[in-house]
Amino acid sequence: MASAPSKLYADDVSLVVVLLDTNPFFWSSSSLSFSQFLSHVLAFLNAILTLNQLNQVVVIATGYNSCDYVFDSSSDLNRSFENGRMPVMCSSLLQKLEEFLIKDEQLSKEEPEGKVKSSLFSGSLSMALCYIQRVFRSGALHPHPRILCLQGSPDGPEQYVAIMNAIFSAQRSSVPIDSCYLGSQNSAFLQQASYITGGVHHKPQNLDGLFQYLMTIFATDLHSRSFIHLPKPVGVDFRASSVFGQAQSEAASASDKKRKTPET
């Protein structure tokens, strides 16, 4: 990605692709309710759009059976939904989200018991990368893209290969993947994604203050990250998906943490 074209834009113009986890199984058992979550996120999206006039936001819903674009700030269709209580942008997003959920429910089929209910993270990641590629090819002037994942569902090990492929292609196109994990355990995939692509990973301790987390950490544009300190994890869980061997304990030994170990 050449830096010369962006000189025509100010350095801090950004395109944020937000991957929203809409896995109903996760949200039905989460301490944070989906409506509260949505209010945090919608306010956050608004804030990003106010940071710079040229900022763009794209929202992709990561469902259980499918993924779809639910919002694009640069599109003109946002004007059509008027609702006295909500800002215009939000109401169109919510409308699309509802439609998406209806479609997703129709796609659901009989699942065996005890299966891990993970969302289609790899699918939405790939869709985000495709959108960003289109932006790259749209011309000389484009904002700096980055991806923000708001995930709570557990990792689906069958998606490991697809997710790693997406991560590496994001790394090649210099697209950082930020991730905010809302679930109760740790997500190795998100940690690896952020580590490899140079993004930020954080697991908020207090979900009531989610908006504050989002504003402090994830609103920073790429240019400012060179001088704003963002939280860094002490160690990254580099365990490959548990297909590759015995899963180790959560209190991961330091050998899993990011560290240079000599090869034997």
Binding site: T22, S29, F34, M86, E158, D208, F211
Partner: protein, 597 residues
């Protein structure tokens, strides 16, 4: 009748004048043991045969008593007086045998411990590897020279390194020279009309390889019927006759001298070999040999020329040889490659070596019965007409592809279980709700937020303040501890010496653990001793690690202890296992009455 030892009653004298201490002399292949009858006397002797240089003895017919004098390589001598001469004879024979063998086996080390025998090449290889890799050298110095591991154990795990080196050194076999031997010009002496040929073993090998009839003649005639010199004289006479292309004179001389005839005639061995090759060939495909190879007795090499149908049949045909035959044969032998790889000292050795190699190759091709059966099988298979064959329905195993998700999901369940996270269980339970219900609840949330608008306020001020505080604290802490760059490694921030020491400790711990865990289960005393040695070495590492921790400035101490923790864990696990197995052993051995461990 070969015996492995000899035991005789004898007296041991240090000098001739010494009356001698009576005792028992026992000789084995390795050493001589003399034990006096009286345990208090000082004449006990235990000498290895390696040191014995020679033997002398007194003659039977003389009046002297039967003495055997063994001299060692420091010019000392051991004199044994036997009861009679037959004893002396036996001992003499035995010593003679051992001394004769001693010439051969002097390089063999004593069989005291089960070490491998290293050739000089392997030693060199190991030294070279050690010189190239300083890490390996440090490990070697640390463990082998201090006695924790033996050489064999150290190199046993590195066989791949040694093999790779060895394979680089395979020698190339030189082939024959391309120049034809008939081009070797003798030196002629015009005055005395003598022609001198210079024969080297190399040339002789080539001659034998190209002309198997000559080879056969050599093996049968020399040295029984004629000397080697005569043989070669006749051979060169034959060559001379050929070069003159005077087949009439050749026939005449051949009639006189039958040995010469052998050299002048066509090489029948070649002919029979070619025919054998043809018979072996599978007519379905192989182009290896065909009738054209047996060209030596066909006029014009089997190529029919128009207008030249007159064939002069005379008995002189037999003695004609053409240049093209020679060239073809020479080329075939050169391309085949060298079959004999030994040192060529003299003609006899050359001839025998070549005969041996031919024997070997013909043995390989033998067992005609099998070959012909194989050929028939192949023929029948190749000439099958597929349309006329019956259907061959081989029993097929049905393909059984399982859903890979089953495996993945069970692994994930394992992961959740072993991670010991109670919440995971709860989450699983709650997902017992039906899909309809969960989707319904989600959509309800959306409708509620549509109706109510965004939460007011989005976030409570106290909560926001808390979050902000916590974040800034943690950010500043980690920055202090780890550094700005997430890709940066902790090791790089340590002083270089500490980093190297830590890495070296890591590799040496791995080496020790490798050998430690490989020795379990303990079945021999050797392994037991080895495990003890390893455990001692491992216990010595703990204080060294503590020292490193202490030497580092205090702000890095936490990082170093994080790095050192897995080393501790690995060592602890090994030592725990060791102690548990020791306990088990002592518990077991308590039951054994005779204290057997």
């Amino acid at each position: 009748m070969a015996s492995t030892h000899v035991t005789k009653r004898a007296k041991y004298k240090t000098t001739i004048k010494d009356p001698g201490t009576p005792g028992t002399l026992r000789m084995t292949f390795e050493k001589i043991l003399f034990v006096p009858h009286n345990p208090k006397s000082a004449g006990k002797l235990d000498v290895e045969f390696r040191y014995i240089k020679g033997q002398k003895h007194t003659k039977e017919g003389s009046n002297k008593p039967p003495w055997l004098n063994l001299t060692n390589n420091q010019n000392g001598s051991f004199i044994f007086e036997f009861e009679n001469y037959s004893d002396l004879q036996e001992c003499r024979d035995f010593v003679g045998k051992v001394l004769a063998k001693g010439g051969e086996v002097s390089e063999k080390p004593t069989v005291a411990y089960p070490d491998e025998q290293l050739s000089a090449a392997e030693m060199e290889l190991r030294i070279k590897l050690l010189q190239e890799d300083s890490e390996l050298q440090k490990l070697h110095k640390q463990f082998v020279l201090s006695g924790v591991l033996t050489e064999t154990e150290f190199w046993a795990t590195r066989k791949k390194l040694l093999d790779r080196e060895v394979s680089k050194k395979t020698k190339q076999r030189l082939g024959f020279k391309s120049a034809m031997i008939s081009d070797i010009k003798p030196s002629t002496d015009g005055r005395t009309n003598k022609v001198t040929f210079n024969l080297t073993p190399e040339v002789i090998l080539q001659i034998f390889a190209e002309k198997p009839a000559v080879h056969r003649a050599f093996l049968s005639y020399v040295p029984n019927k004629m000397s080697e010199r005569t043989f070669w004289t006749k051979y060169f006479r034959a060559e001379y006759l050929h070069s003159t292309k005077n087949s009439i004179a050749a026939a005449a001389e051949a009639a006189e001298d039958e040995e010469l005839a052998v050299f002048l005639k066509q090489d029948d061995i070649l002919a029979s070999e070619a025919q054998k090759k043809i018979r072996r060939v599978d007519p379905t495909l192989d182009m290896e040999a065909d009738e054209g190879d047996d060209y030596t007795h066909l006029p014009d090499h089997g190529i029919f020329r128009e207008g030249n149908k007159e064939m002069t049949e005379s008995q002189n045909e037999l003695y004609k040889r053409s240049l093209s035959q020679d060239i073809n044969r020479h080329a075939a032998v050169v391309l085949e490659g060298r079959a004999v790889d030994v040192e060529l000292e003299d003609t006899k050795a050359v001839a025998e070596a070549l005969a041996q190699s031919k024997q070997k190759s013909s043995n390989k091709g033998e067992s005609d019965g099998d070959i012909s059966r194989e050929r028939l099988d192949r023929l029948s298979r190749m000439t099958e007409i597929e349309d006329l064959q019956g259907p061959n329905t081989l029993p097929l195993a049905p393909l059984c592809i399982k859903d890979p998700r089953d495996y993945f999901d069970s692994q994930q369940a394992n992961a959740l279980r072993t991670s010991g996270d109670a919440l995971g269980g709860i989450e699983q339970i709650k997902c017992g709700l039906s899909t309809q219900e969960v989707y319904g609840s989600l959509r309800e949330s959306i409708s509620s937020i549509k109706a109510m608008g965004l939460k007011e306020p989005i976030v409570k001020p106290e909560v926001a303040h808390q979050v902000f505080d916590a974040l800034t604290n943690s950010i500043s802490n980690t920055k202090y501890h780890i550094g700005k760059n997430p890709q940066e490694s902790v090791l790089d921030r340590l002083p270089r010496k500490t980093k190297e020491e830590l890495l070296h400790h890591w590799t040496s711990i791995l080496e020790l653990l490798k050998h430690f865990w490989a020795s379990y289960p303990i079945t021999t005393t050797y392994l037991y001793a080895k495990v003890n040695r390893l455990k001692d070495a491992m216990s010595n590492i703990y204080p060294q690690l503590e020292e490193i921790k202490g030497s580092v400035p205090s702000e890095l101490r936490h990082q170093v202890s994080l790095l050192v923790r897995p080393m501790h864990q690995a060592l602890d696990a090994a030592i725990q296992h060791y102690e548990a197995s020791m306990q088990k052993r002592s518990a077991q051995s308590g039951e054994r009455p005779n204290g057997y461990v």
